[in-house]
Structure formats: structure tokens, C-alpha cells
Symmetry: C2
Subunit: 275 residues, 2 copies
């Protein structure tokens, strides 16, 4: 039996110690969404679950595993700032909230923090999962620019994304046979035009790979470029699909940093399917 | 030869007369996005093209048809407020802009206006295209609540949406076999949680049909509900796919209102495909 699972050892670690570890050397913006959403900072940790989205299923998994700290990238309550007043009488919210509170689960949001790591911990996890580390030709706070070893097609890149991220589909603009060599990888909600369009020009990008973004911005820019005869493309992999690998990487690092508690990553299925 | 195509007659109509017609009895919000984005108000109309998104292809179609007024629901320049300073040196923007200006095309944005019609002109067009007029059990400024004649499945509703709107796919949350009877239909970007979640409860909705919305809001609420054993579902049809029918209906009405000019609706393909 492994030493780190003994209850004596895990008793020593409080939620606030993990928060301190996560936020070390990080300057958070004033309006940060990162906070302890449920539970208390002086709670003794019985186990840590790391996840992208703390869904009902993830909460139940944590309870089943005897873990009482969930570190999540997104809010459990269907809005970025975790407001709950508007949900006070909602049965889905109250069911979930009661289960969290009764089980004494602390949920800590790790959104702004991990995006401020150098390099961005979410982008780093995605690039790592894709096996693209050696393709990275430039790293900024918003994107990793990758240069593929040779020209390829959007279809081939999409196939790689689907295989490595376990996806049934991706959405594309610009056509599957479009040839590309330099891609900008943008996780989460960085798929909007004010981020992607300057990149396309300044970094000589022919393929945008993003999580999510407004449908009337980047995709329409790509369509116009193609209709003008300029070869550009976009692959939208999904918000969670682009960010979960970064949280998985964080779970690995927390497991190494806190050997006295069990740390596990809980993966959800993609929230959408296509029919 | 039809009388309305004679050049003498169309000479009489200026862009501002069509704008006046569209905005009659409408109070626009202070920060409205509806404006003449290109061209001038005193331009004599040679033909009208109505569309959802004035893409490069739509501009070229207008020029080919000899039309110099495009009435569009969305901006031609990849951002809601049609800002262009950030695009000044962008080759895709400048190519499109030069073509618009050289051809003397006036683009009028009809976004806030048509959403303020009573009933909302965009929702009305979608419901009409779906043949669901008799199913509408409640109409608010944001949604049409439809009650299907009998219980059905998400798969069956998705099939209807695909057939009537000419779609290759829709994205769903909550599973294709989920049974539903009452749906809230929300066009464009009305698919977010602060709109959909109160509706689900207050209007006893079991299916949300929306255009677009944040992936971390409504879909995750639906997932939680399902994981709690409550039968709810969501179909995302796409922003343009949900709103184009409303612009098509507007084209029909403008054709009736201005018989002296040729009015046509130009449809684009969905901007995304899935692979």
C-alpha cells in the first residue's frame, strides 16, 4: 500500500495550501474569476479531483473517490462569474449545490491563474497532448504558432486532432482540402476575430485552430479570404476539447507537488454531439 | 416585360426611403448597430439584395445582378459594431472594401430593427420556414414557445430542422432519444444561459432550439439536468442558419412594398462543415 494514501499524511494539507501553490508568483487581474466557489480554505483535503468543467457527474465522481477538493477551469454554475442569485430557485442548480454542500466539497476555480503561467498552462497541455512540441515556432501569451514539417491538408490536421483528443468531429471553415503549413493554436474562447485576424496577417498563418468563438467573426473572415482566392482555414475543436488537456497536465503536476494526497483528473465527454 | 424593371421607375427610389420604410415605428437603442455601413443615403437604388451575411460572394452577386443596395443582418467586417480601424491594413478587408466602394454598393445593417418588429421578424421567419406557425403557444420578444402536437424525440425534431433549413448537421446536447413536447426557439446569439435557463423553468420547456451561445452555459446546464435524471435537451442549429429565414421573409415583404425595384434574397452555405 502506498504511503501517500495514509489518512495521517493527507490530514496535514489544507485547501489554502494548494491555492497558495497554484497562485505562487501569479498576479491576477482585479476582476479575476478565480476563487473558492464552494467550501472553505481551511478544509483538510481528503483527495483532489482536477477537471475542465465540474459537472454533476464530476461532483459525483469526486464524492465516490472520497475527494473533497475539485480544481476546475470553468464555473459549475453556467456563467463565467459564477453568479448564483439568478439561479436561487432553479432545480438543476439547487440539486447540484445541495450535493456539493452536503458532501463538503470545495471547488476552486483555476482559470485566470493557469492562463497566466509562462507558458500558458492550458495551451501547453494541448500542444503536449497533440505531440506538437517540436513544431512550436513561436509562443505568445495568447497562442502557440506551430509550423508543420511539411505542407499538409486541413483534413489531415483535423484527423490528428480527432485522434489525439478523442473527438467524433470538428467544425471547419475553408474546406478540408485546403493546404496549410503554419497554424495558430488558440485555446478556449480565443477564437474571436480581434485575436485571430491580426495573427493571420502578422504571423503568416494559414490555419487557425481554436476552441470556440463567435460564428460571425473568424469563420466569416476565413470564408471571405477563400472567396477572394486566398487559401485560409479554421478548425474549431470545441471549448472544453481545447482546454481539458491543460487541466490534465495540471493534475499531473499537482500529483507530483503533493504526493501525500491522491490527485486524479476526471474527463467528461464532449458536451455536444452532431446528428 | 414587367413594369417594375423599367429603369425610369427605379430611378425614383433612394436608399433613405427604404431605410425609412424599415425603421418606421421602431425605437432603436442608443448603441444600435443598425446603420448605413457603406454608400450614401441619397443613392438611387438599382436593385436590392437581402442577405444574412454580406460575404465576398454576396457582394459579387449583387454586382452581377446590378443591385447597389444590400440589406444585411450582420456586419460585413467581422465584428458586431462594424469597426474598421483595426482592419485598415488587412488584405481581406481592403479587397472587399475596395470592391464595395468601387461598385458603389450601399450596405444597410438591419439587425436591431428586425428584432424589434412585433413579432420579432427573425423568429417569425424561422417559425414560418419550419411550418410551425400552428404550434406556437406563446410569443415573447426573445422566444417563440412551440408545443408539438404530440411527444417526439430530439432526433425527429433535428431531422425536421435539417430538412427545412437545408442543413447537413446540427449539434445537440441531452441525447437524440430524449423525448420532448415543448420547445423554446431562440434565434441568433440568444442561446446563452441567462436567457435559456429561466425559460426552461418558467415555461416548462424540455427542448431549447437556439442559433448560437457560449458552450459553457446552456449545454452544460442541459448536461447537468440529464445527469440528475431530468429529461432536457438542446439543439444548436447555427447562428446564420437560425436567422437567414427571417431575412428571406424580409426580402419578400420588401419586394411587395417596393414593386419598382428588383429585390432578391441571396443565401450562403453554412460557414462551418463537420468532418
Amino acid at each position: 500500500m502506498k504511503d501517500q494514501f495514509s489518512p495521517e499524511k493527507s490530514k496535514e494539507l489544507q485547501v489554502q495550501e494548494v491555492i497558495l501553490h497554484l497562485t505562487q508568483d501569479i498576479t491576477l487581474p482585479e476582476n479575476t474569476v478565480d476563487q473558492l466557489i464552494t467550501g472553505s480554505a481551511d478544509q483538510v483535503i481528503t483527495g483532489i479531483v482536477v477537471t475542465f468543467m465540474p459537472t454533476q457527474h464530476v461532483i459525483e465522481q469526486a464524492i465516490q473517490q472520497g475527494a473533497n477538493l475539485i480544481i476546475a477551469h470553468e464555473s459549475p454554475f453556467y456563467n463565467h462569474h459564477s453568479a448564483t442569485d439568478w439561479l436561487a430557485t432553479d432545480p438543476v442548480y439547487t440539486y447540484k449545490r445541495n450535493m456539493i454542500d452536503q458532501a463538503g466539497i470545495a471547488i476552486f476555480r483555476c482559470h485566470d491563474i493557469i492562463h497566466r503561467y509562462n507558458p500558458d498552462g492550458i495551451t501547453e497541455g494541448l500542444i503536449f497532448d497533440l505531440g506538437w512540441n517540436t513544431y512550436v515556432s513561436q509562443r505568445t501569451s495568447e497562442t502557440d504558432v506551430v509550423t508543420f514539417p511539411e505542407e499538409t491538408t486541413v483534413r489531415a490536421v483535423a484527423q490528428q486532432l480527432k485522434e489525439h483528443l478523442g473527438l467524433e468531429y470538428v467544425r471547419i471553415a475553408g474546406g478540408p482540402e485546403t493546404v496549410c503549413r503554419r497554424a495558430a493554436v488558440l485555446v478556449g474562447f480565443r477564437g474571436n476575430g480581434h485575436v485571430t485576424i491580426p495573427l493571420v496577417q502578422n504571423k503568416h498563418i494559414d490555419l487557425i485552430i481554436a476552441g470556440e468563438g463567435f460564428e460571425w467573426e473568424t469563420p466569416e473572415y476565413i470564408r471571405d479570404a477563400m472567396q477572394q482566392g486566398t487559401s485560409k482555414a479554421l478548425i474549431m475543436v470545441g471549448h472544453a476539447e481545447s482546454e481539458a488537456p491543460g487541466m490534465k497536465l495540471l493534475a499531473d503536476r499537482l500529483a507530483a507537488a503533493f504526493p501525500a494526497v491522491e490527485v486524479s483528473f476526471v474527463q467528461e465527454r464532449p458536451v455536444f454531439e452532431v446528428i
